[in-house]
Subunit: 354 residues, 2 copies
């Protein structure tokens, strides 16, 4: 089993109140880089002497990378990180899907500064992901040759807002989740409304999935959809590992393939997104919901019980694998994963010098 | 235990008769990209729909990546691939040590075409690796934060010639190995002589190790030395996993640190390079030589017994680890590795449609 973590950024995450994926707004753009290294090495590792702190929410909820890393230390799955527009270098090895000419096009079609810092633009720009189709095709090539079974997950702060934008552009009314305990629904709706206006679109005006990603999405959606389409076209088993962002990837994939496809998420998402099951059914996604049976014995689990984070970094999928339900895994190891979470968390805090 | 595979290219490999790391000269520049994917996935995987064939020498000797991958399937170590100038995209995740500005500088200081295709220039150019110091420092940062114990290995066709160039520029007279059964020693000496002349250097004229890499080396030497220096400065155990190229890395490292450092290579290198042990002693490198006890029962092993390839892709180090001698490994698993080589080789040939 291999987790393919698609990591990237969108300037949409800079909108105040959109994302809890970092203790301060300035740190949010580092989160995907740190998440990648935590999943690969068990701690943030960066070249160039940059050190990323372990991502925590403003209230101290640790990144889902901690949970997924703990599951990896118990279950031993492989990891491939795909760089779909990181804002800051990571020490994790990555497959880079953006060519130099894409980056140039990106820089030319958007402001130089924004393109240098972010993988995807704010969806309130007319064209936040100019190279959506190129990223998709390149990811499709990779997905077609990488050995499975695959769990495809994401790390992109602001990603539920871009997912909402894509769903609305395509005319779907499903809800999306949030890394906040209280989902800032009205803020997200306003951002999406402004984004549609900036792109000259009415809700539901688009049919083409890649047009929707280009005008209202983020590069992680393009890459995740391409990877998944390429893999299932090659007969490789794929589980979309995540919540409403990966559901949106499933919606995009369905424009290309009817092959069997699973969505594995946490009970935290399933319990807070009332129409998740209906949405999965509507797109023929085989839904697996895993309750990690967290307790309040450790702060890392306690914040999840309080409704924070909920999902991300393939957490729902790797927990399902640890429960022996997806990815060809058959052993029940959730108890061991829960114990391991404290070990990984404490090691990370020690590294941060806290 | 983690193998850090430093992968890159040098236009020096284009000189006819220099390298056996590919079935034809045109395929040699693809070898590091394919080697990286074979070690990571067990088969070549590339984005963009490119497919690399499994590298074999003109006589059919498979790349040492096959041996190292077999050892990985038996022993289960982690892998990080460092991109120190690949010529063609790989589907293996990599840590890219070259920034955009380095690439620009490279392109400006050398011909546009050469810089686009190769990581390092022909050593018969005045400055084949303009960004040697930048690569070294960036690798040093990475080495300082990556968890160990580490085995550092290389894949760069033409690398023994660039290693010879660096040794001569620094005034050392050690021999270097070859991927050919018959080492083209006089050709290498001529190339190095021409390289020194092009850089306006007499043998032994340089003291600074990074000046030697910049004028006579390749980017893999710069990155491997930086990684090793950063790691041992951080107290991380490092084994240089390879033959005379990794010996050269050890020579470079000794300008920065006297910390304990091992060199682990195959008996194929040790048996063909008569002064290897003396050279290791001179630079206080703890030498481990592993005889994989190959037999002629399979073509993959037979070509090594005939003196081809000898080493590469960390082969000597991973065999030492499989023998329980380095990297914190204690189990003797060489028998299992030999059996596994046939499995990996046959799977790769099947993928190639042969």
């Amino acid at each position: 089993m291999r987790v393919v973590l698609v990591a990237g950024t969108t300037a949409t995450a800079e909108i105040e109140g959109i994302s809890a994926a970092g203790s301060t707004p300035a740190l949010i753009s580092h989160t995907p880089s740190a998440d990648s290294a935590i999943l690969v090495y068990g701690r943030p590792v960066a070249p160039l002497g940059i050190q990323h702190p372990t991502p925590v929410s403003p209230t101290g909820c640790p990144t889902p990378a901690v949970i997924s890393r703990a599951a990896r230390e118990v279950c031993g799955f492989d990891v491939t990180v795909v760089d779909a527009g990181l804002a800051t270098p990571t020490g994790a090895p990555t497959v880079d899907l953006r060519t130099q000419s894409d980056r140039r096009m990106n820089a030319e079609m958007r402001t130089e500064d924004a393109a240098a810092v972010y993988g995807g633009g704010d969806i309130r720009e007319p064209v936040p992901v100019p190279d959506a189709a190129e990223i998709f095709e390149r990811a499709r090539g990779l997905g077609g040759s990488i050995p499975g079974p695959l769990l495809v997950g994401e790390t992109i702060p602001g990603g539920t807002t871009t997912a909402l934008g894509v769903l609305r552009a395509l005319g779907h009314s499903f809800s999306v989740s949030s890394s906040f305990a209280d989902n800032p629904v009205s803020l997200k709706r306003r951002v999406v409304r402004e984004g549609l206006e900036a792109s000259g679109l009415a809700p539901g005006e688009l049919d083409d999935p890649l047009d929707a990603v280009q005008t209202m999405g983020d590069p992680v959606l393009a890459a995740s959809a391409g990877l998944t389409v390429g893999a299932i076209e090659a007969g490789t088993s794929v589980t979309l590992a995540g919540g409403t962002q990966m559901l949106t990837v499933g919606v995009l994939v369905r424009s290309f393939s009817d092959a069997p496809l699973s969505l594995a998420t946490t009970s935290f998402v399933a319990d807070s997104v009332s129409d998740l099951s209906d949405a999965a059914n509507a797109f023929d996604l085989d839904l697996t919901v895993t309750d990690p049976e967290f307790t309040d014995s450790h702060v890392a689990m306690e914040r999840y019980l309080a409704g924070e984070a909920k999902e991300g970094v393939a957490m729902g999928g790797v927990l399902a694998a640890a429960a022996g339900r997806v990815g060809g895994q058959t052993e029940q190891q959730l108890d061991a994963v829960r114990e391991r979470i404290a070990v990984v968390y404490d090691r990370l805090l020690e590294d941060d010098g806290s």
